[in-house]
Amino acid sequence: MSIFSYLLPKKQRTASVAKERLQIIVARERSMRGGPDYLPQLQEELLAVVRKYVPVSPESVNVQVDRDSGCEILELNITLQDHQDA
């Protein structure tokens, strides 16, 4: 860090970006860890049912199990594409 670097516009500190990204992804991956083994298959079968009616891509489905003080919540998120009226 010389005096000249203070005159230049400050770039964003990449280390803090790295930390933030890691905190998010690691928290997400930990929440999936130890989840039931049937989740991927459940996701696939749900997707097949939904596909019968609306076109959706595999990436637009998110199945997640949350544990919250003794009760488990199975959360299913499907993002529908911009729909065109049939």
Binding site: M1, I3, A15, Q23, V26, E29, R30, R33
Partner: protein, 272 residues
């Protein structure tokens, strides 16, 4: 009592073998009978780092298959007493490592060879070799670089350690795991370009065994086939010596975490 230690990381190229070699050598220097096993079947490299590649006759899979006994396969280090190396095989047979086979080798090292420490140098990844290296471990050293993919993989590996060891399967819970942060550059941390040791600890939430600074000594040591911990003049060598002391329960402050203080002129015009 024999302590079995797995040196693991998930990601490749972060310094597992360098660390396994240094840790094993450091423990032997302290007078403990120590064996270091290369679990990277198919991609053997610990022998090169330890400088015994031309003395390999038998390997881990030979002992598992009964082609050789443990005494024949162990290579005794020429520099340090009490230090023994068991190389990996160069076979491409992925099923060569069996749980029963690995258990047999570890039992022989404990009962017949009276080892105090067995260091298991894990391959990268989370495939069979890595799982076998970790399965019988009493404790783990997780080697991590201050870099996003390495930290993420280490977290993944910590999750695997919590469920896929014999101790965990028998209901003994997580084995103790400690973090060794390698290739650390205090200058880059100060400039905000590299995750700091605090950042990595915040994310992984495990006890810190040591910080090894980025050092030219590591490449020189591997060029020469001499564990870097024997280069006691180097920063990396000293950092590994500290880590070994902490591993044995000594309470040492962490070194090499900051850059040297600069004078006014240095700060004004200094660059690095």
């Amino acid at each position: 009592m024999t302590r079995i230690v797995v040196v693991t990381s998930g990601k490749g190229g972060v310094g597992k073998t360098t660390t396994s070699a240094a840790l094993a050598t450091g423990l032997a220097l302290r007078g403990f009978r120590t064996a270091v096993i290369d679990f990277d079947v198919g991609l053997r490299n610990l022998d090169l780092i330890m400088g015994c590649e031309r003395r390999v006759v038998y390997d881990l899979v030979n002992v598992i298959n009964g082609d050789a006994n443990i005494r024949q396969a162990l290579i005794k280090d020429k520099r340090v007493d009490n230090l023994f190396i068991l190389p990996a095989s160069q076979t491409r047979d992925k099923d060569a490592l069996t749980q029963e086979g690995v258990e047999k080798v570890l039992n022989a090292l404990r009962d017949d060879m009276a080892m105090d420490f067995i260091i298991c140098d894990s391959p990268a990844g989370i495939e069979k070799g890595a799982l076998m290296a970790a399965y019988f471990a009493d404790e783990a050293v997780v080697v991590t670089n201050p870099e996003v993919s390495s930290v993420r993989d280490s977290d993944r590996m910590l999750g695997i350690l919590a469920s896929k060891t014999r101790i965990a399967e028998q209901g003994g819970g997580d084995i103790p795991a400690r973090l060794l942060l390698t290739r650390y550059s205090p200058e880059r941390v100060m400039r905000g370009e590299m995750l700091s040791v605090e950042d990595v600890q915040d994310i992984l939430a495990v006890e810190l065994l040591g910080v090894i600074p980025e050092s030219q000594a590591v490449l020189s040591a591997s060029n020469a086939g001499s564990p870097v911990i024997l280069d006691t003049d180097s920063d990396a060598g000293q950092a590994y010596l500290d880590a070994v002391a902490r591993f044995l329960g000594e309470d040492l402050p962490h070194r090499f975490l900051t850059t040297g203080k600069k004078g006014l002129l240095g700060r004004l015009f200094g660059g690095q």
